[in-house]
C-alpha cells in the first residue's frame, strides 16, 4: 500500500495496489473526491464536482 497527500485537507490517503489513472477515490478524512492523475508516484487532483442541481 502506498500513500499520497490529499490536496484538499492535507491528510494522508491510503491507496490500493492496482491504482489506475482516472480512478476517483475519496479522501478518508475530508471526503473530497480525488482523481488519480498519475500512478508512479501517485498524484491526486480534486475531481470535478457533480453538484446536485437546484433550480430555483
Amino acid at each position: 500500500m502506498t500513500e499520497a497527500e490529499c490536496v484538499e485537507c492535507g491528510a494522508d490517503v491510503t491507496l490500493h495496489d492496482d491504482l489506475e489513472v482516472g480512478e476517483i477515490i475519496d479522501c478518508g478524512t475530508c471526503g473530497a473526491e480525488l482523481e488519480v492523475v498519475d500512478v508512479s508516484p501517485p498524484v491526486l487532483e480534486r475531481a470535478p464536482e457533480l453538484e446536485e442541481d437546484w433550480g430555483e
Partner: protein, 346 residues
C-alpha cells in the same frame, strides 16, 4: 373581462404545474397548451393529481401554439436557447428561469455559464411588482425572480428604502428551503429516505441569488441556503447591522410604508399567539408573503424575515401577478387562494 390564451412550456415540472393550477382557475386565461417531452400525449392529471379534472394533454415543445401569453418553466438555459421562437409564438413571454433575471450580460458570465441571447436582456423586466410594478405595464418579456432572492428582497426592501441598511453594509442571509426547489427531476440526495428530516447546508456559500440582491437592491449579501424538512416554502432570515440607532417604531414605520398598499404582503412582527413571525407554512399554496423583523439592541442588529411559497410568490404566482399587471388586469385576479390552518409540512 378580456380573455387571453396561454401556453405553459415545461408544464410537467413543479412550477409548470403551479402555473397550470393558477391559470385554470384564472378568469382571464384559457390554457391552450402545456408542453412536456417525457409525458407527451399523457393527460395533465397523470403528472399533477390535483388537475385530474383538466381536459388537456401534454404536447411537444417543438410545436408551440400561437398564444397571447407564453409561460416558460424550464431549467436554466432552455429559454435562452428558444427565446426567439417563444417570442414569435406569443406577444408576452413570462420566463420563470434565471435566463432573463439579471439586467447585465456580464453578470451571467460571473454567476451563470454566460448568456447566449443577450440582445433580449434589455427588453426583460423583473417580475416582482413590489419592486418593479411601474415597468411591468405593457412589458413583453418578463423574468420571474429567484425564490430565495424574492424572500430576501421582500424582507430587506423596507430597510434599504428607509436607509437603515446601505450600500457598503454586509447582510448575512440564512435561508431555509423545501424540497420542491430542486424541481421534479431530483437525484439521489432528493430521495425521500436521504432528504427527509434534514437541516442540510446545500449551498453554504456562493449562491447565485446574491446577484439579484445586488442588482435590485444594491445590497451585498452573504447567502447560505439550507434544505430543511418541507416540500414548499422558502424562509429568509436576514441579519443586518444598521449603522445608527433604530427603534421598533422606526421599523414598523418602514415596513408599513413599504407594504401597506401591497395586496400580497403581510407584516408579521412579534404579536401574540403561536404565529409571531413570518412562517412559510402559513402562506403555502398562496401568492402571499409574510415579512417581519425583530430588533436586537444588544447586538445593534435587525433581523428581517421573509417567508413565501417558493413555487408561488417565489415563482409561478409572481409570474401570474406580473402578467396581470402587464396585461392591465386587476392585480389579484386568480391569486386569491388563502393559506391553510392548521397545516402540517406542505
Amino acid at each position: 373581462m378580456s380573455r387571453f390564451t396561454a401556453a405553459v412550456v415545461g408544464g410537467s415540472g413543479f412550477t409548470g404545474g403551479e402555473l397550470l393550477r393558477l391559470l385554470v382557475g384564472h378568469p382571464a386565461f384559457e390554457v391552450v397548451q402545456a408542453t412536456s417531452r417525457e409525458y407527451e400525449n399523457k393527460t395533465v392529471g397523470y403528472v399533477h393529481p390535483n388537475l385530474r379534472g383538466l381536459d388537456l394533454r401534454f404536447s411537444s415543445p417543438e410545436e408551440l401554439e400561437s398564444v397571447d401569453v407564453l409561460f416558460a418553466a424550464t431549467p436554466h438555459g432552455v429559454s435562452m436557447q428558444h427565446i426567439d421562437s417563444f417570442r414569435d409564438a406569443a406577444g408576452l413571454v413570462v420566463d420563470l428561469s434565471a435566463d432573463f433575471r439579471l439586467p447585465e450580460a456580464d453578470a451571467y458570465d460571473e454567476w451563470y455559464d454566460g448568456h447566449t441571447a443577450t440582445e433580449h436582456l434589455a427588453d426583460a423586466e423583473y417580475a416582482l411588482p413590489e419592486l418593479n410594478r411601474e415597468n411591468l405595464a405593457g412589458a413583453d418579456l418578463i423574468a420571474a425572480g429567484g425564490c430565495n432572492a424574492t424572500a430576501t428582497l421582500l424582507a430587506m426592501k423596507p430597510l434599504v428604502d428607509a436607509g437603515f441598511v446601505s450600500d457598503g453594509d454586509r447582510v448575512v442571509v440564512d435561508v431555509k428551503v423545501g424540497s420542491s426547489e430542486g424541481g421534479a427531476g431530483g437525484g439521489k440526495a432528493s430521495s425521500h429516505p436521504e432528504r427527509s428530516g434534514v437541516v442540510r447546508p446545500y449551498a453554504p456559500t456562493g449562491h447565485r441569488h446574491e446577484a439579484e440582491l445586488e442588482a435590485y437592491l444594491g445590497l451585498s449579501t452573504a447567502f447560505t441556503v439550507h434544505a430543511v424538512e418541507m416540500v414548499r416554502g422558502a424562509s429568509a432570515t436576514c441579519h443586518a447591522f444598521p449603522g445608527g440607532p433604530v427603534t421598533k417604531g422606526d421599523l414598523w414605520g418602514a415596513y408599513r410604508e413599504a407594504y401597506e398598499d401591497e395586496p400580497f404582503v403581510d407584516v408579521v412582527a412579534g404579536g401574540g399567539g403561536t404565529y409571531r413571525y413570518p412562517e412559510p407554512k402559513a402562506v403555502a399554496g398562496t401568492n402571499r408573503a409574510e415579512v417581519g423583523f425583530a430588533l436586537d439592541p444588544g447586538n445593534k442588529r435587525v433581523v428581517a424575515f421573509g417567508a413565501i411559497d417558493n413555487m408561488m410568490k417565489g415563482s409561478a404566482g409572481q409570474a401570474v401577478h406580473a402578467a396581470n399587471v402587464a396585461l392591465g388586469l386587476e392585480e389579484t385576479t386568480g391569486l386569491d387562494q388563502l393559506g391553510l390552518h392548521p397545516v402540517g409540512s406542505p
